[in-house]
Symmetry: C2
Subunit: 398 residues, 2 copies
């Protein structure tokens, strides 16, 4: 058999975690707090139906949606991103410096293509999003976790590790972080942007959950404090429009965007035209504001149901994050419970979550008593039932 590339062995650990993660979602009887999907019931099916029905009848527009398109993405969508999604949050972006990609994660893949040689260091939060670690490890980067506290990543530790490891990127999910649900405060955002400029390191900001805020005050992205082009802002339409359409975007300095365009061309030529045009029309028709209100209401109710269920069913000594938005909470169990081991029994009790250890890089054993709990695609009733099952199981182990 023809030999695989070296990267295949290097990424095997994180790839195995991701495979487990996807396969855990298969059983329809299981109440799964595993996946990171938003509520299926809130997807804008009718709006997309009506938009498609109209757009595909407009002379020229239908053909545009089906023919090859520009590598950078549909102009209308890039303008909407700049005007409706970035400017109001304090990020002044030229649409020419925005590249449309196949979902938020593709940006991480493309950024690695542009910057990462095997052995290069990427600093990340500890814990961090395991799917991105899989991408980083596919490029044979060395991922090093930075300290986090209740407010997220600790800039002093980031600075210390920048000096020690000379990383290419600091990868950070500042808002309703995956997996913890924590949000980085304003002063730390400023500080991270400054560290990028001071040490010539890219701050790779991944901000897909930011619009799903249920409480607290909206914060500017790190990119809003970037004065030197060292912060690269990645975002996604998966939580605010449709995950299945695989649409995301990246805003970066022109010299970075031009290289991202080259590697995007050599990855899959360009992002699908029909989803881009439908998404652009969704915003152009002013459907987004009402949709955002609806998805915030639904996901807030689920966050509240999850917080109530944790209070009601978890044993004394359990700690968890009360997220101000997004889809996740992070739960730390009392006693000596290994959540990876527990998951097998949880499956028998028809409930699932993601074990915490996989979110820590370097196999330190940290997070072995933790779990990521996602409430986005579970109804309040199922949240109550699923957390009762999980609470009963955990209590039986103490």
């Amino acid at each position: 058999m023809t030999k695989f590339a070296d990267r295949i062995a290097y990424m095997e650990g994180s790839a195995a975690i991701i495979r487990d993660l996807f396969s855990a979602m298969d059983d329809p009887d299981t109440i799964s707090f595993g996946g990171g999907a938003p509520a299926t019931d809130t997807l804008p099916v009718d709006e997309v139906h009506d938009t498609a029905n109209d757009v595909l009848r407009v002379p020229g527009r239908g053909a545009e949606a089906l023919q090859y398109g520009p590598v950078k993405g549909v102009q209308q969508l890039r303008e909407i991103i700049a005007e409706q999604l970035l400017a109001p949050k304090g990020v002044e972006a030229d649409p020419e410096d925005i590249l449309i990609v196949n979902g938020g994660l593709e940006t991480m893949n493309l950024m690695c293509q542009v910057f990462i040689n095997p052995g290069d260091v990427i600093l990340c939060e500890s814990p961090t999003f395991v799917h991105c670690v899989e991408i980083f490890e596919m490029f044979q980067a060395k991922c090093i976790g930075c300290e986090t506290d209740d407010d997220g990543i600790v800039p002093e530790d980031v600075e210390k590790k920048i000096k020690e490891y000379h990383p290419k990127f600091v990868y950070v999910i500042p808002t309703f972080q995956n997996p913890t649900g924590k949000t980085l405060p304003e002063d730390r955002r400023k500080k991270l942007a400054e560290l990028g400029s001071k040490y010539d390191v890219i701050i790779l900001e991944d901000d897909p959950y930011r619009d799903l805020r249920y409480s607290g005050k909206a914060l500017k992205p790190i990119k809003a404090y970037d004065t030197t082009g060292h912060t690269v802002f990645a975002n996604s339409f998966s939580k605010i429009f449709s995950p299945g359409c695989r649409l995301g975007y990246v805003n970066a300095a022109p010299e970075i965007i031009s290289k991202l365009i080259d590697v995007k061309t050599a990855t899959n030529s360009h992002t699908g035209m029909l989803p881009q045009i439908l998404c652009a029309e969704f915003f152009a028709r002013g459907l987004f504001d009402k949709h955002l209100e609806e998805i915030i209401a639904v996901h807030k109710e689920r966050r509240d149901a999850m917080m109530a269920a944790l209070e009601k069913y978890m044993p004394e000594g359990t700690k968890w994050v009360h997220p101000d938005g997004g889809l996740f909470s992070w739960v730390e169990l009392p006693g000596d419970i290994d959540t990876t081991e527990l998951l097998k029994e949880a499956a028998q009790h028809k409930v699932a979550y993601i074990a915490g250890a996989g979110f820590f890089v370097g196999g330190t054993g940290e997070g072995r008593n933790c779990m990521r709990i996602s409430y986005g695609n579970v109804t309040p009733e199922k949240i109550d039932e699923g957390m009762k099952r999980l609470g009963d199981l955990i209590k039986s182990k103490l």
Copy 2:
């Protein structure tokens, strides 16, 4: 500025060619024989409109189209590929061994992720598709061209170079090749499959044009002769359904598919659900057969118009390929004309093509008097007018 990865310098030559290729299409007054697009007028806009209109109203189906989906792709589409697109051509494929990707080229990217270390050798046709060379060079592969004659790649030279270079892949476009329009005969297809098995080398078969046959007898893919799993079959829906939907697929041995799934996950999670479902419905409703008849008729007329125009306007001593299908012909000019230089003047005369030298790997200077001529997205009238402009310009140089 943070340093780019080594691959960025390595791929710069082919990336520059690709950038030129895309920018040449910008001027609307220019008659362009440059791009590889199929006829815009033949895209199935009405069929996709009606399908979308129905599908997005079916309870559950609309949400499926907008929610996260399986990495491997939509089951219905993988079954259709196996039954309608592979079995009739002599390829017996289990739908489980088919992965849906974002357009045919993404398969090349994913195959490189799985197999290519920097410095690994990929054998290819000489000339070959420059867009794929860009992908191979992004992975720092060493591309080595093999001899071709009127029937395409010469198996004896492939075998010699397999022994000499121990390549990971032999990349080949057997049917209506890009850029030449040539088709590899049956005996050479068999021979390539055997070489893959004999020397444990992957035959990476790229067959996106095969269904656009206007004359001659249909041939089985190389994959049909593969008995050991060494041939990997890549194809695309870009020419038979829609380029803008970015849909392609790969059929390979299970141990290769499982690794392709890992790297697909780490590239963009999965291919867009809405385009997959619309494409599957297009086939499930039996719309493909009639559509194929239509696109063959339109593109055959254009091929014939191009052959007539070459005869009519090209100076004596010009040679060209009469393709039995697909979108391209390959033209070799008499005298000492450098087609890269000529392109600047052609632009002033409002006509464009792709200069030949870029399709040869290694910068040998071969093909400097050649050009790729694409007739897919140019009407017969424009073909006549554009080739007249080009012929007049060429004659003025002799």
